[in-house]
């Protein structure tokens, strides 16, 4: 690991200004992904800004009934919050499907959104990777690609976003609030927060340099039967091959977001009205333009079957 200087942030806007001012800066909160990557020299910040002391670790109920989740709320605390368990079950389920108990005790809400892909070629500094070292190529294309994305990919990158939480946030229409180095704030809908790889897979979100997430807001509860189903190679502590977050209303209207298939949580709202006609037309619309490899083509069938299982479970639970 390369040497770095270290400071403890005193306010969100001070942290943002410091990150803009000091080249090579990174924020650190839980550290579960950043330190992992720093040990491998995949990330090599020269200055760390510890934001853990900021007062961003509470969950507030908003006047409209929604929740404002502080950026530093740990995954364990978010999953265990009685309001989340009662009204946003899909989020609680997604959180406890991810990582291990130890990691969930450290990992934060904002950090979860910002975690990097687990593509093995991204992690291996001897391999070409446009995300880690732009312009070097993509070893995953033509390589071992069973875990990789099947939709929204580019010639430069076929990595997936590894988060479970983000998939639930997407189906719940969450929004991300930030502070910028000039102390102004903005709200970014979760749908617009993560980017597809395109020709710049190293740019993963719309955040500007120095911009710091301060909270994530959930709209007022939408009710319905909420399910998060994760399919993985072992029953616990593994990343998703495919995951489905769904909210099914008594009138049959349904929202669906998927994980493990793209560079961001994958949701096609326009397809959701097709669900009453069955999962096949829905899946064809959601995965229109899919580009699979020989090794990950199974994900298309797996996603549709997982969705069928989720809808069946919703019927039984309703």
């Amino acid at each position: 690991m390369n040497a770095f200087s270290f400071e403890r942030a005193t306010s969100p806007s001070q942290a943002a200004a410091a990150a803009l001012r000091v080249a090579g800066s990174k924020f650190i909160a839980g550290g579960t992904n950043l330190l992992d990557l720093m040990k491998l020299n995949v990330e090599s910040p020269t200055h760390l800004i510890d934001v853990n002391g900021l007062d961003l670790d509470t969950i507030e109920t908003l006047p409209d009934g929604g929740l404002r989740i502080g950026a530093l709320v740990r995954n364990t605390d978010l999953a265990a919050d009685p309001r989340v368990r009662q009204h946003y079950g899909v989020l609680s389920r997604a959180l406890v499907a991810g990582a291990s108990g130890q990691l969930r005790n450290m990992a934060t809400t904002a950090g979860n959104l910002l975690q990097r892909t687990r593509c093995p070629y991204f992690y291996d500094t001897n391999q070409a990777c446009n995300k880690r070292a732009p312009g070097t190529g993509c070893s995953a294309i033509g390589g071992v690609s069973r875990q990789h994305a099947v939709i929204g990919v580019s010639d430069a990158c076929i990595a997936t976003h590894p988060s479970d939480m983000a998939v639930a946030m997407r189906v719940l229409d969450a929004s991300v609030t930030t502070v910028r180095p000039d102390a102004t704030s903005r709200v970014i809908p979760i749908a617009d927060f993560h980017r597809l790889p395109g020709s710049t897979p190293d740019v993963e979100t719309v955040l500007e340099r120095g911009e710091l997430i301060t909270s994530v807001t959930l709209p007022k509860p939408v009710g319905g039967t909420q399910i998060y189903r994760k399919v993985r190679d072992r029953a616990s502590y593994a990343f998703a091959l495919v995951s489905v977050a769904a909210i099914v209303q008594p009138d049959g209207s349904t929202r669906v977001a998927m994980g493990g298939v793209a560079h961001k949580p994958w949701r096609v709202e326009a397809a959701e009205s097709m669900l009453p006609s069955g999962t096949k037309p829905f899946s064809e619309r959601v995965f229109a333009g899919a580009q699979t490899t020989e090794q990950n083509a199974f994900k298309l069938a797996l996603a549709e079957r997982t969705l069928s299982a989720v809808l069946q479970q919703a019927k039984e639970q309703a």
Binding site: M1, N2, A3, F4, S5, F6, R8, G24, I28, G31, T32, L35, D36, K39, N41, V42, E43, S44, T46, L48, D50, N52, T76, A79, A80, P82, R85, Q86, G89, S92, R93, V96, A97, A99, S100, G101, Q102, L103, N105, M106, T125, N126, Q127, A128, C129, R132, A133, T136, A235, S236, Y237
Partner: protein
């Protein structure tokens, strides 16, 4: 580590050390296997991802105060020091083990401010003011914690390397269930989770046992849970 195949490799090493290397490259090569060094085939190019950061930066030291097993410690450490390395290398609490050093195996699990974490994935300087409990603080040979006693009684280990992490994790798992924190296998999210075998097994999935002592570990934890609930 394989033994060098011929003495020829050794003579080539002399050529090797004549080359001009930066401190960074030497450190990097030091991490490569001796076989690679002796055969002279090591690639001295900086690895990708470091290209924009080729200048060697001097270490930065920061003061930190941490309570470990009830005793306040004041130290000055390199910012790169993980909590795990602080415990083992600076304070000689070597009960906490380094397995993968990437948060995948759970051998480094300690309890910080009442919560179990992977001590390999947090920096010591991020734990200013924290209260850390390691296996040494949990119990002593003369006065074992009930979880330690149960692991001994039920043979919850073979080589023992993962055991301190398993025990710290197990103690915290029972606390998490008591606090009502849900898990992936909790049936009703709005009800309190129960201490069941399925709950304990799911919650312990962040602790890997290479010897496969899982069933005995589960029995040990169940016994402690039973005596307390």
């Amino acid at each position: 580590m394989p033994y060098p195949k011929s003495i020829e490799g050794l003579s080539r090493m002399e050529d090797f050390v004549e080359l001009k290397f930066t401190r960074r490259t030497v450190l990097k090569l030091g991490a490569a296997s001796a076989t690679t060094l002796l055969s002279g085939s090591a690639d001295a190019q900086p690895v990708q991802g470091e290209r924009n950061n080729s200048a060697v930066r001097p270490p930065v030291k920061v003061k930190v105060s941490i309570q470990v097993n009830g005793e306040l410690q004041h130290l000055e450490v390199d910012t790169r020091t993980t909590l795990l390395d602080l415990l083992r290398e600076h304070l000689q609490f070597t009960g906490t083990k380094k397995g993968c050093d990437h948060g995948q195996c759970g051998a480094c699990t300690v309890i910080v401010n009442g919560r179990r974490i992977n001590s390999c994935l947090t920096l010591a300087v991020m734990q200013q003011g924290a209260s850390v409990m390691t296996i040494e603080g949990l119990g002593t040979p003369a006065n074992l914690h009930p979880m330690q006693a149960a692991f001994v009684k039920h043979d919850g280990f073979q080589c023992g390397y993962c055991t301190p992490g398993q025990i710290c994790s197990a103690v915290a798992v029972l606390d998490e269930i008591r606090q009502g924190i849900p898990s992936h296998v909790t049936g009703d999210l709005t009800a309190r989770p129960q201490v069941t075998s399925a709950e304990v097994r799911e919650r312990m999935s962040g602790n890997i046992c290479r010897c496969g002592a899982y069933s005995n570990i589960a029995v040990a934890i169940a016994e402690v849970a039973g005596t307390r609930t």
